[in-house]
């Protein structure tokens, strides 16, 4: 398999889902190489499902996924092996192995796939952990860290093999604004320095506006938009405008009409219990 430095990802007539249930149908899109593509959409629209199909964790119901000119469905075991070694993936919650320390988690792909000495592995691990600001947490276990730290450690593990393809599933969700902005800057720096192809699944508009070169918007079980960030910002599509301007949709659910629940209806009556001492 020939290596392409910045592979394109082509999705042709792709229908994704679980079992026989289609989540998104007929996706025709190109995620360009060497750029940051953001897959955007509301909760439950199939963003993470699409990512899992691109990673071949689930088989597509129909259509083709082509990465760097290679059709995933036609790749044999060796081809898939070579492709996966050129991919880094940051999962939503980091997906660090709970029984390994942070250092061992980041070192895992190096130990499994390279002939590097332990000294070299250690150096590389420290460098990647340093990049995400976790060099001092080398010997910590994942359960001793906060959610944001686990996510950053997951990013260090995804980057440790210096892959030309990096996939991130909601990298900024659950992070404070400062850490989220730092992570965005890190992704931009990665792209600038290593000419990577990045695919980021997100519903964070600020983050999208900071990092995206190319945007794919999912919704209503189909692709609603694909194009550059500038094209997206200029769109006049009603749904997309509401999404981008963070406007609530017109209410279809009933208004609050019921009175608040009376304390006296509680099985254990707490009325007056925490009132000021009389």
């Amino acid at each position: 398999m020939t290596q392409q430095t910045t592979p394109d990802i082509l999705l042709e007539g792709l229908t994704i889902g679980y079992g026989e249930h289609a989540v998104v149908s007929n996706i025709d899109a190109t995620l360009p190489g060497g750029k940051i593509s953001v897959i955007l959409g509301g909760s439950g629209c199939g963003k993470s499902t699409l990512l899992k199909h691109i990673l071949k964790l689930h088989p597509a119901l129909s259509g083709r996924i082509v990465i760097g000119g290679h059709d995933l469905a036609k790749l044999d075991r060796r081809g898939m092996h070579c492709l996966r070694q050129r991919m880094g993936v940051l999962f939503q919650d980091g997906a660090l192995l709970g029984s390994l320390t942070l250092g061992d988690n980041v070192a895992l792909p190096l130990r499994e796939h390279t002939r590097l000495s332990e000294k070299d592995v250690h150096e590389r691990v420290l460098a990647k952990l340093g990049l995400v600001g976790l060099a001092d947490f080398h010997d910590y276990f994942p359960n001793e860290l906060s959610g944001g730290m686990r996510k950053r450690a997951g990013l260090a593990r995804a980057m440790v093999m210096d892959p030309p393809l990096l996939f991130c599933d909601e990298p900024t969700s659950g992070l404070d604004p400062v850490t989220a902005a730092e992570l965005d800057q890190l992704l931009l720096e990665l792209k600038r320095r290593s000419d990577m192809t990045l695919v980021v699944v997100s519903h964070d508009l600020d983050s999208m506006r900071t990092i995206a070169d190319h945007v794919l918007v999912l919704g209503d079980a189909r692709v609603l938009f694909q194009g550059s960030l500038a094209e997206l910002e200029a769109t006049q599509d009603e749904y997309l405008r509401r999404f981008l301007d963070r406007q609530a949709a017109e209410r279809t659910t009933p208004r609050l009409t019921m009175p608040p629940l009376d304390f006296k209806l509680m099985k254990r009556d707490c009325s007056g219990y925490l009132d000021e001492e009389q």
């Binding site: 964790l57 898939m80 709970g98 895992l108």
Partner: protein
């Protein structure tokens, strides 16, 4: 209407057929799972370190519980057998009765059931939690075969640990029989040990070891399989799915141990 009535009559049979098909499908999938796990034991030197860690977890950490269970099992057998044999004036055969029942049957079976409860359940829970928290997916995208990484070292460790722990169970159990039959009830010490060595044949010991090997493979395969496919369970999802998988793993292992014990006893002895 007729069609509906016929369907209603056929429904329990159809359900039975569906269950039978699922059972056969599961058994086939479990066998393939075992073959893949076994094949990946010898893939790389990296497996050696993981296997050693699993030997510590499955084997070394089970020693205390096996010691307790085997000692009391031997003591109870010694106590019961002594009274039964004494009625016929055959209390001198206590050593052979204790040794044979332990080495041929109770040793392999009780050891396997104890390890299922202690290590098998944690194998299912560990792999199940990894499955629902995307850790198994993470291994796949890092091009690390999850079965090779998670299951093969456990299988290798089970194949090594089960026979050794069974031998340990047998030894301590025979000692337990000695404690009650000889030290407590006043049987003859020399006769006890003589009967143990005279009546215990190599065939009995080999049979016990073969049983423990088979039990080791069964327990590890069933428990790891249940954990690995936690996400496909129909009865529950998420953490509840893991707990259901753990229960299913332990119960299925125990049933299969007793079933395999009957089959192996028929063949071996």
């Amino acid at each position: 209407m007729i069609q509906g009535t016929r369907r209603a009559h056929l429904s329990p049979i159809a359900q039975l057929g569906d269950s039978a098909l699922r059972l056969v499908g599961d058994m086939g999938a479990m066998f393939l799972f075992l073959l893949e796990s076994f094949g990946r034991i010898f893939r790389s030197w990296g497996q050696f370190a993981k296997t050693v860690r699993q030997i510590y977890f499955i084997g070394v950490k089970s020693v205390s519980v096996i010691t307790l269970i085997s000692l009391f099992t031997g003591m109870v057998i010694g106590l019961q057998m002594y009274y039964a044999l004494a009625k016929f004036g055959a209390d001198g055969f206590l050593g052979s009765a204790v040794a044979l029942s332990l080495v041929r049957e109770l040793g392999p079976v009780l050891t396997a059931i104890m390890i299922t409860g202690r290590a098998g359940s944690s194998m299912t829970a560990e792999i199940g939690v990894m499955r629902i928290s995307e850790q198994v997916d993470a291994l796949r995208v890092m091009d690390i075969n999850p079965i090779g990484y998670l299951v093969s070292p456990k299988l290798a460790a089970s194949i090594i640990c089960f026979p050794i722990l069974t031998a340990f169970f047998d030894l301590v159990g025979i000692l337990g029989g000695y404690l009650t039959g000889v030290l407590l009830l006043g049987g003859n010490s020399g006769v006890y040990w003589y009967r143990v060595s005279a009546y215990l044949k190599m065939n009995d010991i080999t049979g016990g070891f073969i049983k423990s090997l088979v039990f080791g493979v069964v327990v590890c395969t069933v428990c790891c399989y249940m954990g690995y496919y936690t996400h496909l369970r129909r009865d529950a999802v998420g953490p509840e799915g893991v707990s259901q998988a753990t229960t299913a793993g332990v119960v299925t292992s125990c049933v299969l141990i007793l079933l395999a014990d009957y089959v192996l006893t028929s063949i071996l002895f």
